[in-house]
């Protein structure tokens, strides 16, 4: 028996409202594919994706399915499987708005929210076309006299708070604490989000806070609004210690996503297959 109310993948997908700012974890930190498919089935519209710091098949599928209005990211790519075709098509044909960023800026904007300060400074960036195209970023003279660079100019980035974050993880304990291992960027995302939902491979009969080692790898339940079981919930992406990326499926997707028509067929098949249990 667990001491929290388990919800379903469908319940989580319903929390993703049209036009919300949705936190997207990178390919290595637990991609919530089972929920992503439900979001697509719900025909959710106008999503604004905030990637920390990039997205792969999850973002590409959401874009190809017409769920996305805007994306803030450092990259969209299928990694070893090539470029992200639906993303490329959407940009080349102005179907979505893009806020091109760089990995440390995406981290820093959330870190500002974690600390509840209005902005965060970050070095680099100046002289790039990223900066020129971001009217929400600004530059100041370093107000502290603590730099070896004379009259140092430095970029400041606004605090960003997410409406909702969804990620997939290996385990929850009986009290709704979630194991994130060393994927600490999930904690950054969670701290900076109004709502946090997690799908897990399994719920284990213990409390992670009984072990200092496990507690250090835990996102505490105080940041979590709901947990659902979803076996293979990251598939075809991988999940550390559980399963590797499915190379056949990724290759199949990369090929199908090249054209909208073949992507649509692929998605129809994908949805009809019911790949995830415990929905």
């Amino acid at each position: 028996m667990v001491n929290f109310t388990q919800i379903t993948v469908k319940d989580i997908a319903k929390e993703v409202k049209d036009n919300c700012l949705l936190g997207i974890p990178a390919d290595y930190s637990g991609v919530p594919m089972s929920v992503t498919i439900e979001i697509i089935k719900n025909k959710t519209k106008g999503l604004r994706l905030y990637c920390l710091p990039l997205t792969t098949i999850q973002g590409d599928m959401l874009i190809g399915s017409g769920c996305v209005n805007e994306i803030e990211t450092a990259a969209v790519t299928l990694g070893e499987y090539g470029q992200a075709p639906r993303f490329q098509d959407a940009i080349e044909n102005s179907k979505i708005n893009i806020k091109d960023s760089t990995c440390p800026a995406l981290h820093a904007q959330l870190q500002a929210t974690e600390k509840s300060v209005p902005f965060m400074p970050l070095r680099g960036i100046l002289g790039s076309d990223l900066y020129k195209n971001r009217n929400d970023w600004s530059v100041i003279d370093n107000p502290m006299n603590n730099s070896n660079t004379n009259d140092e100019k430095i970029v400041i980035l606004p605090a960003v708070q997410l409406d909702i974050l969804i990620f997939h993880a290996s385990k929850a304990d009986i009290n709704g604490n979630v194991q994130i291992g060393r994927r600490r960027e999930l904690a950054t995302l969670a701290h900076a989000s109004k709502k946090v939902y997690v799908t897990v491979e399994e719920i284990v009969n213990e409390d992670f806070f009984d072990s200092e080692l496990k507690a250090a790898a835990t996102l505490p339940s105080l940041y979590i609004d709901g947990i659902s079981l979803a076996k293979n919930g990251a598939w075809p992406c991988g999940l550390t210690d559980y399963y590797d990326i499915d190379t056949n499926e990724m290759s199949k997707y990369a090929k199908a996503a090249k054209y909208q028509e073949t992507f649509d067929e692929y998605m129809k098949d994908f949805i009809s297959q019911n790949n995830y249990s415990n929905i």
Binding site: Y28, D100, T102, C103, P104, H107, L130
Partner: protein, 245 residues
């Protein structure tokens, strides 16, 4: 001598560039730099100058435990000596473009995005630009979009920047003061004239131009027997193509 693949020659050349480093980090989609760093680490394992290699896309070879921001924090503090960056386009002043070709934002051809380049290029002392394809479409006079600039004015904090550019045809060094590349080594399969023709920007020629060094049999054995199985773990597609087909 066994047949040596082009990729192995480039891995060997890159490995030579890492000789004084203490910590090399490898980012996304970088199987050749990753193999080179692990090779350098293996060859130095019984010396006093150990090499730390952090491969972000690996579980075992990722030394960080504080999430994906740790690479950028560590780099900003000067804890990483060498990092690799690529580009859809690289120009003669070492500006790099990872975003796409055409007029931004409605590009003719969109690529993945800038990743961490807009900070890493400023703070890591030795940035090695690596782009296998050496053609006038990759090495251009001026990039269509600057993901990160090659040089910065003095009022920008910039301890780092480009030091080398390596392609399948040549190795160049970058001179920050003169804002230009100089050719250092050439792949013996190409002539200097061919390299000039396939480079969209002007570069400084070199009286002491050398050829890419062929890796020794000992190095090839290390690469194939000890490094290839490691690479298979985190860049499976690449490793299968080169070593396990």
């Amino acid at each position: 001598m066994t047949e040596i693949f082009q990729s192995e020659i480039i891995i060997s050349e890159i490995s030579n560039l890492l000789k004084d480093d203490k910590h090399v980090a490898i980012g996304a989609a970088s199987p050749i730099p990753g193999s080179a760093a692990l090779l350098a680490q293996e060859e130095r394992k019984n010396t006093n100058l150990k090499l730390q290699v952090t491969i972000l896309h690996s579980q075992k070879f990722n030394n960080f435990t504080d999430g994906s921001r740790e690479l950028f924090d560590a780099s900003a503090q000067g804890r990483i000596d060498t990092f690799f960056l690529g580009g859809v386009q690289i120009d003669g002043e070492a500006n790099i473009n990872l975003v796409g070709t055409g007029r931004y934002p409605k590009l003719d051809k969109r690529f993945s995005g800038s990743f961490g380049s807009a900070l890493m290029y400023f703070v890591v002392p030795k940035i090695i630009l690596f782009r296998e394809e050496h053609t006038p479409r990759t090495l251009v006079k001026k990039v269509d979009f600057i993901s990160a600039p090659g040089i910065s004015p003095p009022n920008i904090y910039r301890p780092g920047g480009p030091k080398y550019l390596i392609t399948n045809k040549a190795l160049f060094s970058f001179n920050k003061k003169k804002k230009n590349f100089k050719i250092e080594k050439i792949n013996p399969e190409f002539t200097l004239d061919e390299v000039i023709k396939s480079t969209g920007f002007e570069f400084k020629t070199n009286k002491n131009l050398k050829y890419f060094t062929m890796p020794s049999q000992k190095r090839i054995d290390i690469l194939r027997n000890l490094i290839a199985p490691k690479v298979l773990n985190f860049y499976p597609q690449f490793a299968k193509k080169i070593w396990f087909n």
